[in-house]
Protein backbone atom coordinates (compact mmCIF):
# COMPACT_ATOMS: atom_id res chain seq x y z
CA UNK A 1 0.00 0.00 0.00
CA UNK A 2 1.41 3.39 -1.04
CA UNK A 3 0.45 6.77 0.36
CA UNK A 4 -1.52 7.71 -2.76
CA UNK A 5 -4.69 5.92 -3.85
CA UNK A 6 -5.73 6.41 -7.48
CA UNK A 7 -9.35 5.70 -8.44
CA UNK A 8 -9.54 5.63 -12.23
CA UNK A 9 -12.08 4.83 -14.93
CA UNK A 10 -9.49 4.43 -17.70
CA UNK A 11 -7.03 1.72 -18.56
CA UNK A 12 -3.58 3.22 -18.61
CA UNK A 13 -3.00 1.94 -22.17
CA UNK A 14 0.62 1.05 -21.68
CA UNK A 15 1.51 4.19 -19.76
CA UNK A 16 2.78 2.50 -16.63
CA UNK A 17 1.99 4.39 -13.48
CA UNK A 18 4.68 4.03 -10.84
CA UNK A 19 3.46 1.17 -8.64
CA UNK A 20 5.77 2.28 -5.84
CA UNK A 21 4.06 5.67 -5.85
CA UNK A 22 0.41 4.81 -6.57
CA UNK A 23 -2.07 2.20 -5.37
CA UNK A 24 -4.48 1.77 -8.28
CA UNK A 25 -8.21 1.18 -7.80
CA UNK A 26 -9.56 0.31 -11.22
CA UNK A 27 -13.14 1.20 -12.16
CA UNK A 28 -13.19 0.58 -15.91
CA UNK A 29 -15.66 -2.33 -15.60
CA UNK A 30 -19.40 -1.74 -15.05
CA UNK A 31 -19.56 -1.04 -11.31
CA UNK A 32 -22.76 -2.20 -9.60
CA UNK A 33 -24.83 0.75 -8.33
CA UNK A 34 -25.64 1.67 -4.74
CA UNK A 35 -28.90 0.04 -3.60
CA UNK A 36 -29.90 2.90 -1.30
CA UNK A 37 -30.15 0.44 1.61
CA UNK A 38 -27.85 2.35 4.03
CA UNK A 39 -26.40 -1.05 5.02
CA UNK A 40 -22.94 0.58 5.03
CA UNK A 41 -24.14 2.58 8.06
CA UNK A 42 -26.51 0.24 9.89
CA UNK A 43 -25.61 -3.33 8.87
CA UNK A 44 -21.89 -3.55 8.00
CA UNK A 45 -20.73 -0.11 9.25
CA UNK A 46 -18.01 1.43 7.13
CA UNK A 47 -18.36 -0.89 4.13
CA UNK A 48 -20.92 -1.44 1.34
CA UNK A 49 -22.99 -4.63 1.76
CA UNK A 50 -22.48 -5.67 -1.89
CA UNK A 51 -19.96 -8.49 -1.86
CA UNK A 52 -17.46 -7.47 -4.54
CA UNK A 53 -14.07 -5.75 -4.72
CA UNK A 54 -15.65 -2.35 -5.44
CA UNK A 55 -16.77 -2.22 -1.80
CA UNK A 56 -13.11 -1.96 -0.74
CA UNK A 57 -12.56 1.65 -1.84
CA UNK A 58 -14.20 3.10 1.30
CA UNK A 59 -12.03 1.00 3.62
CA UNK A 60 -8.83 1.79 1.70
CA UNK A 61 -9.14 5.60 1.92
CA UNK A 62 -8.32 5.79 5.66
CA UNK A 63 -4.95 4.11 5.00
CA UNK A 64 -3.61 6.67 2.50
CA UNK A 65 -2.63 10.33 2.62
CA UNK A 66 -3.86 11.31 -0.82
CA UNK A 67 -6.73 10.21 -3.08
CA UNK A 68 -6.55 10.95 -6.82
CA UNK A 69 -9.74 10.64 -8.84
CA UNK A 70 -9.26 10.13 -12.59
CA UNK A 71 -12.65 10.44 -14.24
CA UNK A 72 -14.26 11.41 -17.48
CA UNK A 73 -16.11 14.69 -16.97
CA UNK A 74 -19.78 13.82 -17.53
CA UNK A 75 -22.43 16.59 -17.34
CA UNK A 76 -20.11 18.56 -15.04
CA UNK A 77 -19.68 15.58 -12.72
CA UNK A 78 -18.04 12.18 -12.51
CA UNK A 79 -18.44 9.24 -14.89
CA UNK A 80 -21.00 6.50 -14.02
CA UNK A 81 -18.35 4.01 -12.86
CA UNK A 82 -16.47 6.46 -10.64
CA UNK A 83 -19.81 7.76 -9.34
CA UNK A 84 -20.91 4.21 -8.51
CA UNK A 85 -17.74 3.72 -6.44
CA UNK A 86 -18.41 7.06 -4.69
CA UNK A 87 -22.08 6.20 -4.05
CA UNK A 88 -21.01 2.90 -2.51
CA UNK A 89 -18.34 4.52 -0.34
CA UNK A 90 -20.48 6.67 1.95
CA UNK A 91 -19.59 4.22 4.72
CA UNK A 92 -16.34 6.22 4.85
CA UNK A 93 -18.37 8.81 6.78
CA UNK A 94 -20.91 8.34 9.60
CA UNK A 95 -24.70 8.58 9.29
CA UNK A 96 -24.79 11.21 12.05
CA UNK A 97 -25.01 14.89 11.19
CA UNK A 98 -22.91 17.92 12.10
CA UNK A 99 -22.76 21.52 10.93
CA UNK A 100 -20.09 22.75 8.52
CA UNK A 101 -20.21 26.43 7.49
CA UNK A 102 -23.87 26.60 8.54
CA UNK A 103 -24.86 23.59 6.44
CA UNK A 104 -25.75 20.08 7.54
CA UNK A 105 -23.15 17.41 6.69
CA UNK A 106 -22.14 13.99 7.96
CA UNK A 107 -19.69 13.44 10.82
CA UNK A 108 -16.37 11.84 9.93
CA UNK A 109 -15.71 8.18 10.78
CA UNK A 110 -11.92 8.60 10.66
CA UNK A 111 -9.69 11.30 12.15
CA UNK A 112 -7.15 11.10 9.32
CA UNK A 113 -8.05 13.47 6.48
CA UNK A 114 -6.61 12.54 3.08
CA UNK A 115 -6.07 15.22 0.45
CA UNK A 116 -8.20 15.00 -2.65
CA UNK A 117 -7.14 15.59 -6.26
CA UNK A 118 -9.52 15.46 -9.24
CA UNK A 119 -8.09 14.84 -12.72
CA UNK A 120 -11.06 15.24 -15.08
CA UNK A 121 -10.94 14.65 -18.82
CA UNK A 122 -13.24 15.22 -21.79
CA UNK A 123 -12.78 16.15 -25.45
CA UNK A 124 -14.91 19.24 -25.01
CA UNK A 125 -15.26 21.03 -21.66
CA UNK A 126 -17.68 23.95 -21.40
CA UNK A 127 -17.17 26.74 -18.88
CA UNK A 128 -20.48 25.81 -17.23
CA UNK A 129 -19.43 22.19 -16.78
CA UNK A 130 -16.04 23.28 -15.46
CA UNK A 131 -17.69 25.54 -12.91
CA UNK A 132 -20.06 22.75 -11.78
CA UNK A 133 -17.16 20.28 -11.47
CA UNK A 134 -15.15 22.72 -9.35
CA UNK A 135 -18.12 23.25 -7.04
CA UNK A 136 -18.74 19.49 -6.94
CA UNK A 137 -15.13 18.81 -5.92
CA UNK A 138 -15.45 21.38 -3.11
CA UNK A 139 -18.72 19.83 -1.92
CA UNK A 140 -17.18 16.33 -2.05
CA UNK A 141 -14.16 17.56 -0.07
CA UNK A 142 -16.45 18.90 2.67
CA UNK A 143 -18.48 15.70 2.77
CA UNK A 144 -15.38 13.46 2.77
CA UNK A 145 -13.58 15.67 5.27
CA UNK A 146 -10.64 16.41 2.94
CA UNK A 147 -8.64 19.50 3.90
CA UNK A 148 -6.62 19.85 0.70
CA UNK A 149 -8.24 19.83 -2.71
CA UNK A 150 -7.15 20.45 -6.27
CA UNK A 151 -9.04 20.07 -9.56
CA UNK A 152 -7.40 19.72 -12.97
CA UNK A 153 -8.95 19.43 -16.43
CA UNK A 154 -7.55 17.64 -19.48
CA UNK A 155 -8.64 17.27 -23.08
CA UNK A 156 -7.08 13.81 -23.41
CA UNK A 157 -6.20 10.90 -21.14
CA UNK A 158 -2.68 10.84 -22.60
CA UNK A 159 -2.10 14.40 -21.47
CA UNK A 160 -3.52 13.47 -18.05
CA UNK A 161 -1.38 10.39 -17.60
CA UNK A 162 1.75 12.29 -18.65
CA UNK A 163 1.10 14.57 -15.68
CA UNK A 164 0.99 11.61 -13.31
CA UNK A 165 4.21 9.98 -14.49
Amino acid sequence: MTNTLVLQDIDTNGIALNKEKYTIFQASHEVKPCLGCFGCWIKTPGKCVINDNDSDFAITIPHVQEVIIISQLVFGGLSPNIKAIFDRSIGFILPFFCNVNGEMHHKQRYKKRPSLKYLLYANVISDKEKSTAQKLAKANAINLGADNLSVHFYHSTIELLEDLK
Binding site: V31, P33, C34, L35, G36, F38, W41, I42, K43, P45, G46, K47, A58, I59, P62, V74, F75, G76, G77, L78, P80, N81, K83, A84, F86, D87, S89, I90, L94, P95, F96, F97, E103, M104, H105, R109, Y110, S126, K128, E129, T132, K135, L136, A139, N140, N143
Partner: protein, 206 residues
Amino acid sequence: MKVLFINGSPKSDNSSSELLINALHKLLGNLNEYITITAMKASKQAFLDGVRGADVAVIVFPLYVDGIPSHLLRLLCEVKDELKNINPNVVLYAIANNGFYEGTQNALALNMIQHFCDAAGIRWGQGLGIGAGGMLNSSPIGIAVLKNIGIALETLAENINKQISGDDLFAQPNFPKFLYKTAAHFNWIQSAKKNGLKRNDIYKKH
Protein backbone atom coordinates in the same frame (compact mmCIF):
# COMPACT_ATOMS: atom_id res chain seq x y z
CA MET B 1 -50.27 16.85 -22.40
CA LYS B 2 -48.22 13.67 -22.15
CA VAL B 3 -45.95 13.47 -19.09
CA LEU B 4 -43.08 11.03 -18.57
CA PHE B 5 -41.95 10.51 -14.97
CA ILE B 6 -38.53 8.97 -14.45
CA ASN B 7 -38.18 7.61 -10.94
CA GLY B 8 -34.47 7.79 -10.10
CA SER B 9 -34.62 5.99 -6.76
CA PRO B 10 -32.88 2.60 -6.57
CA LYS B 11 -35.61 1.42 -4.19
CA SER B 12 -38.46 -0.59 -5.71
CA ASP B 13 -41.15 1.01 -3.53
CA ASN B 14 -41.79 3.45 -0.66
CA SER B 15 -39.15 5.88 -1.89
CA SER B 16 -39.22 9.64 -1.42
CA SER B 17 -39.04 9.95 -5.20
CA GLU B 18 -42.24 7.90 -5.54
CA LEU B 19 -44.01 10.14 -2.99
CA LEU B 20 -42.93 13.22 -4.92
CA ILE B 21 -44.08 11.75 -8.25
CA ASN B 22 -47.49 10.93 -6.74
CA ALA B 23 -47.84 14.44 -5.29
CA LEU B 24 -46.82 16.11 -8.55
CA HIS B 25 -49.18 13.84 -10.53
CA LYS B 26 -52.04 15.00 -8.29
CA LEU B 27 -51.13 18.67 -8.79
CA LEU B 28 -50.84 18.31 -12.57
CA GLY B 29 -54.37 16.88 -12.71
CA ASN B 30 -56.15 14.05 -14.45
CA LEU B 31 -56.38 15.59 -17.90
CA ASN B 32 -52.87 14.52 -18.83
CA GLU B 33 -51.52 11.18 -19.95
CA TYR B 34 -48.83 9.78 -17.64
CA ILE B 35 -46.10 7.18 -18.01
CA THR B 36 -43.66 6.29 -15.22
CA ILE B 37 -40.40 4.39 -15.67
CA THR B 38 -37.88 3.46 -12.99
CA ALA B 39 -34.26 4.20 -13.82
CA MET B 40 -32.93 1.21 -11.87
CA LYS B 41 -34.84 -1.26 -14.10
CA ALA B 42 -35.46 0.68 -17.32
CA SER B 43 -33.52 -0.11 -20.47
CA LYS B 44 -32.26 2.61 -22.77
CA GLN B 45 -35.06 1.63 -25.17
CA ALA B 46 -37.75 1.97 -22.46
CA PHE B 47 -36.46 5.49 -21.73
CA LEU B 48 -36.48 6.45 -25.42
CA ASP B 49 -39.95 4.93 -25.94
CA GLY B 50 -41.20 6.95 -22.96
CA VAL B 51 -39.78 10.21 -24.34
CA ARG B 52 -41.26 9.59 -27.80
CA GLY B 53 -44.38 11.74 -27.97
CA ALA B 54 -43.98 13.14 -24.44
CA ASP B 55 -44.44 16.88 -23.99
CA VAL B 56 -42.56 16.97 -20.73
CA ALA B 57 -40.31 14.59 -18.79
CA VAL B 58 -39.70 14.87 -15.04
CA ILE B 59 -36.72 13.14 -13.45
CA VAL B 60 -37.20 12.63 -9.70
CA PHE B 61 -34.20 11.31 -7.80
CA PRO B 62 -32.36 11.19 -4.48
CA LEU B 63 -29.09 13.14 -4.13
CA TYR B 64 -26.11 10.78 -3.93
CA VAL B 65 -22.72 12.24 -2.92
CA ASP B 66 -23.59 15.72 -4.21
CA GLY B 67 -24.73 14.37 -7.58
CA ILE B 68 -26.89 12.05 -9.66
CA PRO B 69 -27.08 8.37 -8.54
CA SER B 70 -24.83 6.26 -10.76
CA HIS B 71 -27.57 4.05 -12.22
CA LEU B 72 -29.53 7.12 -13.37
CA LEU B 73 -26.36 8.81 -14.63
CA ARG B 74 -25.52 5.69 -16.69
CA LEU B 75 -28.99 5.70 -18.25
CA LEU B 76 -28.70 9.41 -19.11
CA CYS B 77 -25.34 8.73 -20.77
CA GLU B 78 -26.90 5.93 -22.82
CA VAL B 79 -29.80 8.03 -24.16
CA LYS B 80 -27.98 11.35 -24.56
CA ASP B 81 -27.14 11.08 -28.27
CA GLU B 82 -30.56 9.83 -29.37
CA LEU B 83 -33.02 12.03 -27.49
CA LYS B 84 -32.93 14.89 -29.94
CA ASN B 85 -33.82 12.60 -32.83
CA ILE B 86 -36.57 10.88 -30.86
CA ASN B 87 -38.24 14.05 -29.58
CA PRO B 88 -36.50 17.46 -29.90
CA ASN B 89 -39.45 19.29 -28.31
CA VAL B 90 -39.59 17.52 -24.95
CA VAL B 91 -39.00 19.80 -21.94
CA LEU B 92 -37.12 18.26 -19.02
CA TYR B 93 -37.78 19.10 -15.36
CA ALA B 94 -36.08 17.57 -12.31
CA ILE B 95 -36.73 17.15 -8.60
CA ALA B 96 -33.86 16.12 -6.34
CA ASN B 97 -34.23 15.35 -2.65
CA ASN B 98 -31.52 14.85 -0.07
CA GLY B 99 -31.08 13.70 3.51
CA PHE B 100 -29.46 16.93 4.65
CA TYR B 101 -31.77 19.65 5.93
CA GLU B 102 -31.10 22.27 3.26
CA GLY B 103 -32.81 21.91 -0.13
CA THR B 104 -30.07 24.07 -1.66
CA GLN B 105 -27.61 21.19 -1.32
CA ASN B 106 -29.29 19.69 -4.41
CA ALA B 107 -28.23 22.64 -6.59
CA LEU B 108 -25.21 20.93 -8.20
CA ALA B 109 -27.14 17.78 -9.10
CA LEU B 110 -29.81 19.95 -10.77
CA ASN B 111 -27.04 21.79 -12.65
CA MET B 112 -25.80 18.41 -13.90
CA ILE B 113 -29.27 17.58 -15.26
CA GLN B 114 -29.20 20.97 -16.99
CA HIS B 115 -25.80 20.10 -18.53
CA PHE B 116 -27.35 16.80 -19.66
CA CYS B 117 -30.06 18.79 -21.49
CA ASP B 118 -27.37 20.94 -23.16
CA ALA B 119 -25.48 17.80 -24.24
CA ALA B 120 -28.64 16.05 -25.47
CA GLY B 121 -29.94 19.16 -27.27
CA ILE B 122 -33.28 19.28 -25.43
CA ARG B 123 -34.88 22.10 -23.45
CA TRP B 124 -34.34 22.46 -19.70
CA GLY B 125 -37.45 23.42 -17.77
CA GLN B 126 -36.78 23.87 -14.07
CA GLY B 127 -35.36 22.09 -11.04
CA LEU B 128 -36.65 21.71 -7.51
CA GLY B 129 -34.28 20.77 -4.68
CA ILE B 130 -35.88 19.40 -1.51
CA GLY B 131 -34.10 19.06 1.84
CA ALA B 132 -34.82 16.67 4.72
CA GLY B 133 -36.18 14.12 2.23
CA GLY B 134 -36.48 11.57 5.02
CA MET B 135 -39.49 13.53 6.28
CA LEU B 136 -41.51 13.23 3.07
CA ASN B 137 -43.60 10.38 4.52
CA SER B 138 -44.43 12.27 7.73
CA SER B 139 -47.61 13.88 6.35
CA PRO B 140 -49.31 14.36 2.97
CA ILE B 141 -47.19 16.75 0.88
CA GLY B 142 -48.59 20.27 1.20
CA ILE B 143 -49.90 19.79 4.73
CA ALA B 144 -48.41 20.46 8.22
CA VAL B 145 -44.58 20.15 8.19
CA LEU B 146 -44.61 19.58 4.43
CA LYS B 147 -46.51 22.78 3.62
CA ASN B 148 -43.41 24.57 2.24
CA ILE B 149 -42.61 21.64 0.01
CA GLY B 150 -46.18 21.64 -1.28
CA ILE B 151 -45.92 25.35 -2.17
CA ALA B 152 -42.68 24.78 -4.14
CA LEU B 153 -44.20 21.74 -5.86
CA GLU B 154 -47.27 23.80 -6.85
CA THR B 155 -45.03 26.41 -8.51
CA LEU B 156 -43.21 23.67 -10.40
CA ALA B 157 -46.51 22.06 -11.44
CA GLU B 158 -47.81 25.39 -12.79
CA ASN B 159 -44.68 25.80 -14.90
CA ILE B 160 -44.88 22.21 -16.13
CA ASN B 161 -48.52 22.70 -17.16
CA LYS B 162 -47.47 25.80 -19.15
CA GLN B 163 -44.27 24.05 -20.32
CA ILE B 164 -42.22 27.08 -19.35
CA SER B 165 -38.76 27.34 -17.83
CA GLY B 166 -37.81 28.99 -14.55
CA ASP B 167 -35.04 29.39 -12.01
CA ASP B 168 -34.45 26.40 -9.77
CA LEU B 169 -36.55 26.23 -6.61
CA PHE B 170 -35.44 25.01 -3.18
CA ALA B 171 -37.45 24.02 -0.12
CA GLN B 172 -37.30 22.05 3.09
CA PRO B 173 -39.96 21.10 5.64
CA ASN B 174 -41.22 23.80 8.01
CA PHE B 175 -39.65 21.90 10.88
CA PRO B 176 -36.69 22.95 13.09
CA LYS B 177 -33.27 21.80 11.91
CA PHE B 178 -32.11 20.67 15.36
CA LEU B 179 -35.20 18.48 15.81
CA TYR B 180 -34.69 16.92 12.38
CA LYS B 181 -31.08 16.17 13.35
CA THR B 182 -32.11 14.65 16.70
CA ALA B 183 -34.81 12.50 15.11
CA ALA B 184 -32.44 11.31 12.37
CA HIS B 185 -29.78 10.27 14.93
CA PHE B 186 -32.40 8.37 16.94
CA ASN B 187 -33.58 6.60 13.78
CA TRP B 188 -30.06 5.55 12.73
CA ILE B 189 -29.40 4.02 16.14
CA GLN B 190 -32.75 2.19 16.18
CA SER B 191 -32.19 0.88 12.63
CA ALA B 192 -28.73 -0.41 13.56
CA LYS B 193 -30.14 -2.10 16.67
CA LYS B 194 -32.76 -3.86 14.53
CA ASN B 195 -29.81 -5.37 12.64
CA GLY B 196 -28.32 -6.68 15.88
CA LEU B 197 -25.73 -3.91 16.25
CA LYS B 198 -24.92 -1.87 19.32
CA ARG B 199 -24.65 1.91 19.18
CA ASN B 200 -20.82 1.79 19.27
CA ASP B 201 -20.70 -0.66 16.34
CA ILE B 202 -21.89 2.16 14.07
CA TYR B 203 -18.49 3.86 14.61
CA LYS B 204 -16.47 0.82 13.44
CA LYS B 205 -13.12 1.61 11.79
CA HIS B 206 -11.42 -0.54 9.15
